[in-house]
Amino acid sequence: MFSKSLKGTTQTPELEMTPMIDIVFQLLAFFVMTFRITALEGDFNIQMPIQSQAQSEIEDLDQPIVVTLRSGVNRRLGGIKVDDLPEFVGEDMFQKLAAEIQQRAERQRDPASDKKLIVEFVIDYDLRYSETIGAVTAVTGRKLPTGETQQLVDSIKFRDQGARLD
């Protein structure tokens, strides 16, 4: 209706696209330049003594499994001790640790029992953090072929301050 002039001739209104395209391309350039592909990051939740004091008394009665990590050559993992068992050494330490924790988890998976499986780490001060995370991964659970994670322990704690285990 508005496009018709009084004389009856038809005129389509011209929309100025240039500024919009300019802005759109500037936005696009900004997003392309600031875009970075980063690897997925995840968390392991750790409880420290303050929080555990505030928890229920039932949990306090659960005896934690004490896992001791000893530093070896080049601050790599030298050995893993689970409670009073002989120390695990060698290439397959993490697998042995995971198997031991899984065995205990299965023993405690009694539906009648409300006992919680708690792992407490005692870690050599100098041990590389990557080795600690390897041990935390081993006790946390395992990846099932379906891609899901089977949780082994209910809670992980660190004993206060890194110990010198020489």
């Binding site: 696209m17 919009m20 395209i21 759109v24 391309f25 936005l27 696009l28 997003f31 392309v32 600031t34 875009f35 970075r36 980063t38 690897a39 997925l40 990051e41 995840g42 968390d43 392991f44 939740n45 750790i46 409880q47 420290m48 003594p49 303050i50 929080q51 505030a54 990590l69 601050r75 870690i123 050599d124 001060y125 100098d126 041990l127 590389r128 953090y129 990557s130 080795e131 600690t132 995370i133 390897g134 935390v136 991964t137 946390t140 659970g141 990846k143 994670t149 660190f158 206060d160 301050q161 890194g162």
Partner: protein, 149 residues
């Protein structure tokens, strides 16, 4: 020779398809842009774990502490030589949380430590947080992609 008058008119370019595609690209990059990277220190190489899972929900109160191998801490792009220098920041965070009716234990301390850091230094930083009644920790790791080293 007489030229056809119609040929002298400028040819119109149909911009619709290009604009459609450009807006889609902008939407794609806008969705993927990650502003949380301000908390991340470039110097930190996180340890790998195949069980790394991104947190299901973001914590209301969170502090991301980047720990370098020599023990210095980077928080909000500010570098501190030791963890004890963060005490005023802990106190401020606790005050902010209390204003919203939250307890110090509700504040999540995310530790992004370099893979070569001595674990004792990580525990020292945790001890500094505990002195300020902060006890809810998350150790951040990078996802180990299956088949990669």
């Amino acid at each position: 020779m007489k030229l056809d008058r119609r040929q002298s008119e400028p040819e119109k370019l149909d911009l619709t398809a290009m604009i459609d595609m450009t807006f889609q690209l902008i939407a794609f990059f806008m969705i993927l842009i990650n502003f949380s990277e301000v908390d991340r220190s470039e110097d930190i190489e996180l340890p790998l774990s195949e069980l790394a899972k991104p947190p299901r929900e973001a914590a209301d109160h969170e502090m991301v502490l980047n720990l370098l191998p020599e023990g210095s801490v980077v928080y909000s792009s500010i570098s501190f030589p030791r963890g004890d220098k963060l005490k005023p920041y802990f106190e401020r965070k606790i005050r902010d949380a209390k204003r919203e009716g939250k307890e110090p234990a509700d504040i999540r301390i995310v530790i992004r430590a370099h893979e070569d850091t001595p674990t004792g230094k990580v525990q020292e930083l945790m001890a500094e947080c505990e002195k300020a009644s902060l006890s809810n920790f998350a150790l951040r790791v990078k996802e180990r992609v299956l088949g990669a080293q």
